[in-house]
Amino acid sequence: MQFNVKDRPSMGDTPLHALDPRMKLVVAVLLIVGIVLTPERALPAYPLLWALVASLAVIGRVGVWRLARLGTVALPFALAGLTLLFTTPGQPLATVGGLTISDAGLLRFVSILIKSWLATQVSILLSLTTPFTDLLGALESLGIPQTLVLITSFLYRYVFTLNDEADRLRQARASRSAAPTYGRGGGRWWWRAQVAGGMIGNLFLRSTERSERVYAAMLARGFSGQMRAIAPPPLTWRAALPGLLPLLGLIVIEVLARLWWNG
């Protein structure tokens, strides 16, 4: 199995890429909050919210349809909400396999799907147009404790290295098990679980040993507990201003949704 962030085009020269990551993160979070707070009956608000997200995608040259497709990753989770169709009190609409779907249930379920799809697109747009390290920097300036941010940047730095090590362990497993790694390998499933566990134990030991060497390498260059970095430039109004546009759009949609479409 491979995972790849390398080919994600988080570098680019669109206004969306250029927007200060602190502002971008705040805008993304507010957009998601707005989407989730949209009254579920305000049906005209949904296409407008999508238009808002899609126009951001156009600005960031992400590809509206690609983003729409990527946004569906979270939808399988909706299985958890499927029962709302039947359990929400309302006018009966149809009966499926002995269960009755109510109109309120349908509205609720569909609105959750749409909101989740829209919110996920916002989150994808953020990650596609912002290098992850910039995102971490933004988190730190927004008050997330530095230590947690640093832990996460170490995660980001070493996840590839450790995944390569895990790949080598997987290859060793595959070469000895004389069976495809991802097909039905040899042995019972609990035996396979134990093989995986052994590999994980092995990986843990390599990881702790690596952490000791990395710590030594940090000490060797003068680390004494306090992480220093070159201070990021202060956030200027000029750099943050473009971020207000999508927020304005969101406010207009939400006001309309509450005043006229919430009946």
Binding site: F160, A220, R221, G222
Partner: protein, 242 residues
């Protein structure tokens, strides 16, 4: 200032599990010397190097760097003077971007941002990696990682540059270009641990042979490295006459 840059006197070290890694190690390195520290796997080379900037601390023995005894109080000062390049660049390059890694040392020496930037540029220039500052460390090739690892230490402008098995894991081309790079540091005092005899022969004027934690020989590289009996006895290969 003293001409003796490193003085090690009667150094012993036992790992917590009881392994005796160093026994009565003593030597002196002078300014401008290029010294090879050679010995088989497990000889204690890495252990010794880790002592030279106080990562490992031994209770018996004295280490003096440029006249300054290594103690708890002088630790930070000494770490700025002794630049240690670890064997595996993935341990050394722990930041996401090359720039962050090369800036780490100078920043932790407390230098102002402008000076840090200047040093990063200089160090990248010195290892032939100008313009690599914005690259992601993980994406570099093995040879490039090695160069950046050296740059992370050069940016601290250490008095002595110490490299632990610098040619391990490099292909022949990467190894050749590394030797060329190190040969270009003409004024820099160097201590290189290796069991790559060719590299020691090409770069060093003097070698120290370490085996089972003890110094077995110390002398001119041209003499020791061509001494087939000595090399054989310590699990090494002699360099044939060129």
């Amino acid at each position: 200032m003293s001409e003796m840059l490193i003085q090690v006197q009667g150094l012993y070290y036992h790992y917590p599990d009881g392994t005796a890694a160093l026994e009565d190690v003593s030597f002196t390195i002078h300014r401008g010397e290029k010294v090879g520290l050679i010995g088989p796997n497990g000889a204690g080379k890495s252990t010794l190097l880790l002592h030279l900037n106080g990562i490992l601390r031994s209770s018996s023995g004295q280490i003096t760097i440029d006249g300054l005894p290594l103690t708890e109080r002088s630790l930070r000062q000494i770490r700025a003077q002794v630049g240690l390049v670890f064997q595996n660049p993935d341990d050394q390059l722990f930041s996401t971007y090359v720039h962050q890694d090369v800036a780490f040392g100078p920043l932790h020496m407390g230098l102002p941002d402008a000076e840090v930037e200047r040093r990063v540029e200089q160090a990248l220039e010195a290892v032939g990696m100008r313009g690599a500052a914005g690259r992601i460390s993980f994406h570099l090739s093995g040879g490039e990682k090695k160069r950046i690892a050296i740059a992370t230490v050069l940016s601290m402008q250490p008095k002595i540059l110490i490299l632990d098995e610098p040619s391990s894991g490099l292909d022949p081309r990467g190894r050749r270009s590394l030797i060329q790079l190190l040969a270009s540091f003409t004024d820099q005092t160097l201590l290189i641990s290796t069991h790559d005899m060719r590299l020691a022969y090409d770069l060093c004027s003097r070698v120290i042979v370490l085996d089972e934690g003890k110094i077995a020989a110390d002398g001119p590289a041209a003499d020791l490295l061509t001494d087939a009996i000595l090399m054989e006895r310590h699990g090494l290969e002699s360099v044939g006459h060129v």
